[in-house]
Amino acid sequence: MKGALKPEAAAELIGEGASLLVGGFMAVGSPERLIDAIVARGTKNLTIIANDTAMPGRGIGKLISAGLVRHVIASHIGLNPETQAKMIAGELTCELVPQGTLVERIRAGGVGLGGVLTPTGLGTEVEQGKPTIELDGKRWLIETPITADFALLGAWQADYVGNLSYMLTAQNFNPIMALAGRTVIAEPESIVPVGVIAPDAVRTPGVLVDHLLIRAS
């Protein structure tokens, strides 16, 4: 862990066209201050990989509204009418992925696996254009791993070496995405001395985290 950055400094690391894994489920557990800083900087042509695009005015919804997103990989965009409108208008493209497949593709990317064999999506539109394999008489869909330039995480507590803990349903995709971003930036709600997060309570080891966001003023 390299240290704590101001949101503006963290946003400067992210260049145009970057791919971002963004934690959160309907913005619960999303790094809101980091997203605000990206919106303020106006970094364009982003690829967003996340469970959903939240709703206008919250979490990833703010990146969508600002017109900064070129491509979305998500399981659900139904609660953000702007994502659908921009998709229909051709301003962004969207790959819809079953939620359980999405999280495992990200995990595969993060843990060095070559892909995922899943029954989910067989016999549906999701199968179209993808290879399948038969093993021991059972058919599986082959899904490819996902990694990204950055993983932007929302956490509950961080300590000085970057260990992270999460709160209830704000956990969601965050600990998985921590493995799959080439640079990992975490926005904790508080930063506490080493030891306050007991080793057994650490959900993301600090060795995965490159930068923390400094406390909210």
Partner: protein, 221 residues
Amino acid sequence: MDAKERVARRVAREIRPGTLVNLGIGLPSMVANYVPASLGVFFQAENGVIGLGARPPEGMEDRHLTDAGGGFVTAVPGAAAIDSAMSFGLIRGGHLDMTVLGGLQVDAQGRLANWKVPGKMVPGMGGAMDLVTGAARVIVAMQHAAKGQSKIVPRCTLPVTAERRVNLIVTDLAVIEPTDDGLVLKERAPGVTIAEIVDATEAILIVPESVPEMDLAGGMP
């Protein structure tokens, strides 16, 4: 009792003690209202909690504890907070005893379509494809018809959610079980005749000699 309450009460009868159950958003989430705490059922919200509880008291909501629709919830004693890989590992891995989902169409083969209306509505499948693929039992809870159109059709015209046959369809008019032979009419809503159900159903129904009325008492006992 309105149509949705009837469906929710009937689905609640299917829930067995001590099981893990996932309820979809909308009508399916109403099922929890008719399942007594004494059954010891754990409800899963796929965004990351086992042991989902009712809405918290006004002003006591916490933004770190929501259901898959983003609504504020509570957690019951014994609850566990989990990440998305664990959540879908439970679902896909056969650890989830039952899921109750809404539907746009179910066809004669028992296949469900509930995630896309091409050209009109593309919300995404969210967790639905994993739930229908992986849950031990899949129950579709929906209105029998929408805008005068039967939602139980010979063959889905909308993109299907999975190739798997669902276990039971519960509507405001009937309980229907998809089988190898086709859709079997199991129960009818109070005051609804078999002829009315057959009329309101585009797919062919197999009608046994006896079709009892639905039991709307809610969850066991």
